[in-house]
Symmetry: C3
Subunit: 132 residues, 3 copies
């Protein structure tokens, strides 16, 4: 079963908590135990699992990642100006597996699932694939 | 089948070889061919596959990663002082899939599985999920 | 079913598009819907999903990654001189899951699958594992 969601991102770079969308798909699927895949089928966005309690973690995360892969780099050849976003996408990844146990997404206490926008704002696809 | 292990990490930042724990779970499960997931359900730790022969690789790995995401950064807002660890966790990832073939974990000659501690020392969970 | 391909990489650092090799394995397997794993069982190479339209994206990607993890670093202890490649391998990852839907690899419009060479040129293995 494949579920597709649209996620509107609010800024050029942002982390959007999508944990509830994944949980909703798991509930709808009726899966009790198994492995699912969550994919963001884009090349300037990504997906990551990180802390969902203190919003300052997200702030520091994006600022530090920007230092690693700065938006502006005069040596870039790609003329769209989003080479940084392509690299960031590969750093965090775009498709991640998750464990479902007793009908519930198995996450740690502090873990949430974030869609990572690196070249927004845009509307992004989130695909949740659940094999029975 | 879900196996859970406790892993004691020895330092603030360390790579702990957990290959044997994953192999033990595969053997116990009786799985012959399939895909398994290994998860570290934390937001300041992670999991990676890297060389398990020369210990200096691990040393260089942690030192170089620390240069990318330094422990101390006065611009951090998160007051726990571990924003670097959250970023490192997302860079290496926390849940990875592995292939099992003929009852054996399929790894390359030099590949080992490492739990990555970025905010230790602590006791961390390692979850191995095997669907028959 | 496990498919193995040999991929010759052209340079010390390069991204080689292997999308067609993965598609060929999916077609041969006859899988209609499911999850597959693609693995590069090496510790100085990796796998990533990124844009496959403009070649300048690949150029910027490798140049920017080299800035993050420079080939030469006098502080490295590992005497083979490829510690940078080990780190790059962990940053992009070596084993990634993909969704197959209606017999087709489910990728975004701009997504291609790249084998990442970080210590070449060499012949690398690409493993595609498909569980029915």
């Amino acid at each position: 079963m494949i579920f597709e969601e649209s996620v509107r991102t609010p800024a050029a770079q942002a982390l959007v908590d999508v944990t509830h969308l994944v949980q909703k798909a798991v509930a709808k699927s009726g899966l009790r135990n198994g492995h699912i895949l969550v994919s963001v089928p884009h090349t300037t966005a990504g997906l990551t699992i990180n802390e969902n309690a203190d919003p300052s973690v997200v702030h520091d995360f994006l600022r530090r990642l920007e230092k690693i892969a700065p938006t502006h780099d005069p040596a870039d050849r790609h003329t769209e100006g989003n080479s940084h976003a392509h690299l960031k996408s590969s750093i965090v990844g775009t498709c991640h597996p998750f464990i479902v146990s007793n009908g519930e997404l198995l996450l740690g206490t502090w873990q949430g699932i974030y869609l990572c926008e690196f070249d927004g704002p845009r509307t992004r696809k989130l695909i949740i694939s659940i094999i029975g």
